[in-house]
């Protein structure tokens, strides 16, 4: 299907395209109630409660008053509907703001202002600087003479650098007057969601001469929600509008995340439901048998002579209602309440507040805190997540002179300053390359300050450093570059840009110095490529040593070289180059060849070192979390060498002999399969060795692996604890998360940029670093904070506590309902299996809502099994939270058995003590209820690990509330409980029964707990004892373990130690060989794995131009 868009011609464009009204809302006023109800009832629990509530309307079968279910049900539904409505209203408002934004559109040759939602396909949209683009537009003209414009695409892909868009060839050079009136047609595909493709054609109608079809690509489009930057105006024709834009099509409703504990709770609930059905059927049949057998004998019941057709169902349904409290309606509410407090704890946590950026931790998703405690895989982004993403020019070596080595910062190096003031030629040249040879765009912002827009942080760092050294890049107009060097204005004309490619690994510019009129070639690039093209006799060894030293410090290095060109040489070369540029076949290699001609016999100036500091405490955080049994995957868009270097620096992988890095790569599916197979073999063979094995894979190979070798790759992924994935796209990141997820592991994705959004949304838990790459990740994430190191606290403290508490709260909630339900069931055997409720409806409701929820609620908010400090020092303890170890069928079975045991204790004691002359029904029900409540109070006490005043208050206050409430009810003449509680409490037998119930019910639990914690203690018990016994010992051990991790750190540090040790004579060659990416990889494939010696050198080369691709 094709779409034909007639430019600027509303009459000819078919009107069936949707208007530009963006709508993200889920409901409207009319469908809100039915749709919301439908959604709420799609959940099993809600269906169940509704069924129960409806059944209760039938008085024949209801054991309690219907209000006891309808009341809570309506409240719960109202609350969640209100929340939905509120959220949807927020979406409506933001849509409205977008839709009603005023935009300029050309109508009949005149620019007019309309609302964004009125734009139609084919309209000519006129945009000004900093405008948000209202729909997908094909660029037709810009204010720049060359037909360029800059856009910021952060809303789409999260990349904050500016991207250039070009007008299609036929439109280049159109004046704005021509643009207003010209007509044409664009043939484009139907709307899709691919933001990297736009395969369309454009034809301009006469009077334009060049009216053949001209191909269009994504480079010619401005997509919705991007911003026009650094361009006075741009205009284009709307091709996709409203929800049909690329962005609109790729918008998906984020699925609400279900935590593992939630899922387990759902499973358990289903199991209980099945159990309940079985119980109901058994009791129902038993009840019917009793009826049939006794019906004619028990005259005092006066069963009707003829039976109704539904009689058989009455008793089962009665039992269904009687047992309906097995699944307590309160569990959902109390869990939601508790979880929202857990997430508040995160918001409030001062330890996770980043002073530097003034960012507190934010828990956007209030429902999944307990999943944090169950994380088994962490998939992390690199730049900005592990590193600060603040590139700083730190050192340089110019002409054999090291700058910045003493102070650690070249910018404060007096030697460099003096050299510049003295205008030492090499230093000036070096600075010129730093300033000129880049794609940085200087930009004088509104308030007059100079800003640099750069596609890479490295280039920006270099330009900024130069600026601080008084060589300020003040403006760039087309090919003219203006510098301000110590107050002098220097002007250069950039004649040619010899672009960066991944093969060339260098970038050069040919400039003409306006003051002298001379031509220069300015080159920067990776050391190994530069070394090959410098002229003979240059101090290569010197620079190589410098680079070696820098890369061992974890700095990102670049080599700088210079050549003066003479006019003739340049002119002849320029012809070759232009030919190559214009060639239709093998353009890239021809250009490369052409460049080669000029890039020779260079004068080697030196090397620069840019630092992207690791964030504070990253190695320690990773080491701790790894001890906690969490596996780490590093997913980065960066290149392999950089990734490996960073991974080594932050304890991610370990150097030989402790660690081993395997490489998977291949260019065909067969290669990849073989490579994976080899790695798998190595893994299987060496699984016994205590080596930290990791693998490294790049995006291309990964794509093949995921496409053709998914199974093998999945197996590999499960065997390995650490993986480095380089050069992966955002969707591949998400796919990897999905892969790990599909193996039933709990995943956490952490990232800081828009390119991490997909993976953050895909993972069970998404964490965003609200860092320097904007807030996209933080907004999409469930949790966000300022620094990577907070992850440790988030998982170990908040995640673990939340999980422990949730597990307790959820299971306890079901347990307590089961207790009262089992008492009812036991009682039914003494009441002719007729479904009499021992307890009145008020007591039942209050039991669930008040008596049993307050203490456990408070406990589940405040309880701490271990101190935060202990947990942080013994991350291994997290093991007891992972893989659902605290809430699973077996733990639940314990609670289940406990509930049966307690129900029996309560029932037997009550029935036997209150036998014969005392067995008045209302009295007995109060005794049984009191028994349950006292048991609950003691159970909460025995399950509590640490007591605060609040817990005591809650537990005993709750008991007091129970008595106060019932005394009040006993005062009322009209409730069925008149004077009951006074009578009951006045009887010493009551108190002795309660004591007996408590001792018999709690004693065995205490004995088991003591035995377990003393004779088969788990690590939690051990640490509890340690904590209690000898707080110093805990810290001692901790310091020991932290010192071991410190040792690890220092070891890693020493491998990049600041002490420079001369390498072996052949190190230069090997250095080049390793650093050259191609050789490096082939070496990998030949030997299957990379040995990492501490001295192995992989110079960082995350050059600015890498990102150009």
């Amino acid at each position: 299907m094709k779409r034909f868009v007639y430019i600027n011609d509303r009459d000819r464009t078919p009107g069936h395209h949707c208007c530009n009204k963006v709508s993200n809302t889920k409901y409207n006023i009319f469908n809100f109630i039915p749709k919301n109800l439908w959604e709420q009832f799609s959940r099993f629990m809600n269906k169940y409660f509704l069924l129960i509530a409806i059944l209760q309307l039938w008085p024949l079968i209801t054991p309690v008053s219907p209000a006891s279910t309808w009341g809570p049900l309506i409240v719960i539904f109202a609350v969640s509907a209100t929340k939905e409505a509120w959220d949807d209203y927020g979406r409506y408002c933001s849509d409205k703001e977008f839709n009603e934004k005023i935009v300029w559109v050309v109508k009949k040759g005149v620019k007019t202002q309309i609302q964004a939602q009125e734009i139609e396909v084919g309209d000519l949209v006129w945009l000004y600087e900093n405008d948000e683009i209202p729909c997908d537009v094909v660029l037709l003209g810009t204010s720049e003479s060359v037909g360029l414009c800059y856009i910021e695409t952060s809303a789409m892909d999260g990349e904050t650098d500016l991207k250039t868009r070009v007008t299609p060839k036929p439109c280049v050079g159109l004046t704005s007057a021509e643009l207003l009136t010209h007509k044409g047609v664009i043939e484009c595909p139907e709307p899709d969601r691919d933001i990297l493709r736009f395969d369309a054609r454009l034809r301009l109608f006469p009077p334009f001469i060049d009216n053949d079809f001209h191909p269009l690509s994504i480079k010619n489009t401005l997509l919705q929600s991007c911003y026009l930057r650094n361009t006075e105006w741009a205009c284009g024709v709307a091709v996709y509008t409203g929800n049909e834009t690329k962005l609109g099509m790729s918008k998906g409703v984020a699925e609400p995340k279900l935590t593992a504990a939630d899922a387990m709770l759902d499973k358990l609930t289903t199991a209980i439901f099945i159990f309940q059905v079985v119980v109901v059927l058994i009791l129902g049949v038993a009840g019917n048998i009793w009826n049939n057998y006794e019906k004619n004998k028990v005259w005092y019941l006066r069963f009707p002579k003829q039976s109704e057709w539904y009689d058989f169902f009455v008793i089962p349904l009665r039992f269904e209602l009687l047992c309906s409290i097995m699944i307590p309606i309160s569990v959902k509410v109390s869990l939601d309440l508790a979880k929202s407090v857990y997430s508040k704890y995160i918001d409030w946590d001062l330890h996770m507040y980043d002073q530097q950026t003034n960012t507190p931790a934010v828990a956007a998703n209030t429902a999944i805190s307990e999943d944090l405690g169950q994380i088994e895989y962490i998939l992390t982004d690199k730049t900005g997540t592990l590193t600060e993403n603040v590139m700083l020019f730190k050192r340089c070596c110019i002409h054999g002179v090291y700058y910045g080595n003493e102070s650690g910062d070249a910018l404060t190096d007096q030697g460099l300053k003096d050299a510049l003031l003295e205008k030492v030629p090499e230093v000036v040249k070096f600075m010129l390359i730093m300033t000129v040879n880049n794609t940085v765009v200087p930009h004088l912002s509104g308030n007059g300050s100079l800003k640099y827009q750069a596609q890479s942080q490295d280039e920006e760092a270099l330009v900024q450093a130069a600026a601080q050294l008084h060589m300020v890049l003040s403006s760039k107009k087309g090919t003219f570059v203006e510098l301000n060097f110590l107050g002098d204005i220097l002007e250069f004309e950039m004649l040619n840009v010899l672009d960066f490619t991944s093969d060339r690994k260098r970038m050069s510019v040919v400039v003409r110095d306006h003051s002298t009129g001379r031509l220069h070639l300015l080159t920067k690039g990776a050391d190994e490529t530069i070394f090959r093209i410098v002229r003979a006799g240059e101090p290569v060894q010197q620079v190589a040593d410098a680079i070696d030293q820098y890369s061992q410090l974890g700095l990102r290095t670049l080599c700088f070289a210079w050549r003066d060109l003479d006019e003739q040489e340049y002119t002849s070369w320029a012809i070759t180059f232009n030919e190559a540029s214009a060639s239709m076949t093998e353009r890239e290699s021809k250009i490369a060849d052409a460049c080669q001609l000029l890039e020779r016999d260079l004068e080697l100036l030196g090397a620069s070192a840019v630092e992207d500091k690791l964030q504070d405490a990253v190695p320690d955080t990773i080491a701790s979390l790894r001890k906690a049994g969490i596996n780490f995957w590093l997913l980065t868009g960066d290149k392999q060498t950089t990734a490996i270097q960073i991974a080594l620096a932050c304890n991610f992988i370990r150097a030989e002999p402790e660690g081993q890095l395997l490489s998977i790569q291949g260019s065909t599916s067969n290669d990849v399969a073989a490579s994976i197979e080899r790695v798998l073999e190595i893994l299987r063979i060496r699984s016994s060795e205590s080596k930290d094995v990791a693998f490294v894979i790049d995006g291309f190979t990964l794509e093949l692996a995921l496409k053709y070798e998914r199974e093998a790759f999945t197996e590999l992924a499960l065997l390995i604890k650490t993986a480095l994935c380089c050069r992966v796209t955002p969707s591949q990141k998400a796919e990897l998360v999905g892969l790990v997820k599909s193996c039933d592991y709990r995943t956490l994705a952490i990232g800081d940029g828009g390119n991490d959004v997909k993976m953050i949304q895909e993972a069970h838990v998404g964490v965003g670093i609200s860092g320097r790459e904007g807030l996209q990740a933080a907004r999409a994430a469930d949790y966000s904070f300022g620094k990577f190191k907070f992850l440790k606290r988030l998982i170990l403290v908040h995640g673990r506590y939340s999980y422990n508490r949730t597990a307790f709260l959820a299971q306890y909630s079901i347990y307590k309902s089961l207790v009262i339900c089992f008492v009812q069931i036991l009682f039914s055997f003494l009441s002719g299996v007729s479904g009499t409720s021992l307890f009145n409806s008020l007591s039942l409701m209050a039991y669930n809502v008040v008596y049993t929820s307050i203490p456990v609620m408070v406990t589940s908010l405040l309880d701490k099994d271990l101190l935060e400090k202990t947990v942080m020092e013994h991350p291994e303890i997290l093991y007891f939270a992972q893989a659902g170890r605290l809430i699973n069928p077996s733990t639940f079975a314990c609670w289940f058995i406990r509930s049966i045991f307690h129900a029996i204790v309560v029932f037997v004691v009550t029935v036997r003590v209150y036998a014969y002359d005392k067995c008045e029904m209302v009295e007995m029900s109060m005794v049984a209820l009191s028994g349950c409540i006292w048991l609950q109070a003691f159970l909460v006490l025995i399950e509590t690990n640490s007591f605060t005043v609040c817990q005591y208050l809650a537990v005993w206050g709750n008991v007091v509330i129970f008595y106060v409430l019932n005394f009040i009810l006993s005062l009322s003449k009209h409730a069925g409980m008149h004077t009951i509680m006074f009578r009951v409490c006045g009887d010493p037998a009551y108190w002795f029964s309660l004591l007996l119930i408590v001792v018999a019910g709690i004693g065995p639990l205490a004995a088991i707990k003591y035995y377990r914690s003393t004779y088969s203690p788990n690590a939690i018990n051990m640490l509890q004892l340690l904590e209690r016994q000898d707080p110093i010992a805990v810290s001692l051990e901790a310091s020991e373990s932290s010192s071991s991790s410190a040792r690890a750190v220092s070891r890693t540090n020493s491998s990049h130690g600041s002490v420079y040790e001369p390498l072996l004579p052949e190190s230069l060659k090997s250095g080049i060989a390793v650093a050259s990416s191609d050789n490096f990889l082939s070496e990998v494939s030949s030997s299957d794995f990379l040995p990492f010696s501490p001295n192995s050198r992989t110079p960082l080369l995350n050059h600015a131009m890498n990102n150009n691709k």
Binding site: W348, Y452, K721, G832, L838, V911, V913, G976
Partner: protein
């Protein structure tokens, strides 16, 4: 993000300008602007400082509430179990003594009372025969039983009737009453519905309605010592104040008189005349009918005792009690039992060994548990908080990461 970084850049650039080389100043369009920018930047910084998003500190929000962690150490556990056991045994003995102090006489009379009327024509073997006899209004159904007092019974001695296999707690039964009626109000429609099939007679509402009232127990007992040939041997059974005070004063209203009560007019309702309980004196308000009150306090268990009256004199050992029973109530149809119980009371009520025995059992178990723990601890003392028990300490550090 951009703004912060560029501000930094700006500052550094400007500082360097002001620092060493004044020649660049003109490039930046004069020092005034530079100063203005500096000021502006400082304002921004200040506003940032003002709007600190630092969370507020409180001990609750930081989860730093002071807490204590009780720990089950061997010493305190053993002490706890043993002392708890001793306490339980003490309570158990106390309760058991109380229970044993109660003197209780029980006599099941339902079988004896009907077999007395067994004739050749009606051998009373089958249930139907018994029912037929019970339903025959013309037959006398009294019988006499004797009970021997073996121990001194101090007054008050409670006279109970005990029914067995009688489901007063059945769902059909337990709801079949109207509280509003008892209070003197008109029964609500839902209550009347619950009262079915004893809600109305010939379209008129029965007061008190429902199965409970309709099945009122109506056996009567006349007690005397040494036969009842002489009047002075009659033992007076006080049948007042046997119901709860609140029932007498609040629940059963003194303005409500039984009306349309089916048992009072057995001829009009042929069916009801044959089964069903006692009749109610229509001139007596409900608040005076304590039998009904006791009966309408439904029992939670199928075997229950209800108070018939109190004997307010001591019964000496050796006294032979003769009881003349009017055996009206039909417990034969459903296989129930009827017993007459005379019992004194202690603080735990009637005779009930359960509480005492179970305390003693629980106490013994608790002491035993304590001793077992003591023995285990003595035999196998385990230093608390031994780090070597930590799983990851035992393992070699390389494999310390726990796989799942």
């Amino acid at each position: 993000m951009g703004s912060i970084r560029f501000m930094e850049l700006g500052r550094i650039v400007f500082f360097s300008v002001s620092g060493s080389d004044m020649t660049t100043v003109h490039a930046l369009k004069g020092g005034g602007e530079f100063l203005r920018r500096l000021q502006k930047e400082e304002e921004v910084q200040q506003s940032l400082r003002r709007e600190s998003r630092r969370p507020k500190y409180s001990r609750f929000s930081q989860q730093e509430l002071g807490s204590c962690k009780p720990m089950l150490t061997p010493r305190c556990t053993v002490a706890m179990f043993v002392s708890l056991g001793v306490m339980c045994i003490a309570i158990g003995v106390y309760a058991l003594l109380a229970s044993w102090s109660v003197v209780e006489l029980v006599n099941r009379y339902d079988i004896f009372c009907i077999m007395k009327y067994a004739t050749h024509a009606n051998p009373m073997i089958t249930v139907d025969e018994k029912i037929a006899f019970m339903q025959d209004a013309t037959k006398r159904k009294n019988c006499t039983i004797t009970m021997d007092v073996t121990k001194l019974m101090k007054q008050p001695i409670y006279v109970y009737y005990q029914l067995g296999n009688y489901f007063q707690n059945h769902r059909r039964y337990v709801k079949s009453k109207s509280e509003r009626q008892l209070r003197g109000l008109a029964a609500s429609s839902s209550e009347l519905n619950d009262c079915k099939p004893e809600d109305q007679v010939n379209g008129e509402v029965i007061v008190p309605c429902g199965l409970i009232a309709w099945t009122l127990f109506n056996d009567t007992y006349d007690l005397s010592t040494n036969g009842f040939s002489s009047d002075n041997g009659t033992v007076f059974v006080n049948k007042t104040a046997i119901a709860w005070k609140s029932d007498r004063e609040e629940r059963f209203n003194n303005t409500v008189f039984p009306t349309n009560f089916p048992n009072n007019n057995r001829t009009t309702l042929a069916n009801a005349s044959q089964i069903g309980g006692g009749w109610l004196n229509e001139s007596l308000p409900l608040s005076k009918n304590e039998n009904l009150m006791v009966w309408m306090r439904t029992a939670a268990l199928p075997t229950f005792r209800k108070l018939y009256g109190r004997i307010e004199t001591d019964l000496q050992p050796g006294t032979k009690l003769t009881i003349n029973i009017e055996n009206y109530y039909n417990a034969y149809g459903f296989g129930g039992s009827k017993k007459l119980v005379l019992s004194t009371a202690s603080w735990i009520g009637g005779r009930n060994d359960f509480l005492g025995l179970s305390y003693i059992v629980v106490g013994c178990a608790s002491i035993l548990m304590g001793l077992v723990f003591l023995y285990v601890h003595w035999k196998n003392p385990r230093p608390l908080g031994d780090r070597s028990y930590l799983s990851w300490v035992r393992k070699s550090p390389a494999t310390s990461t726990v796989t799942s």
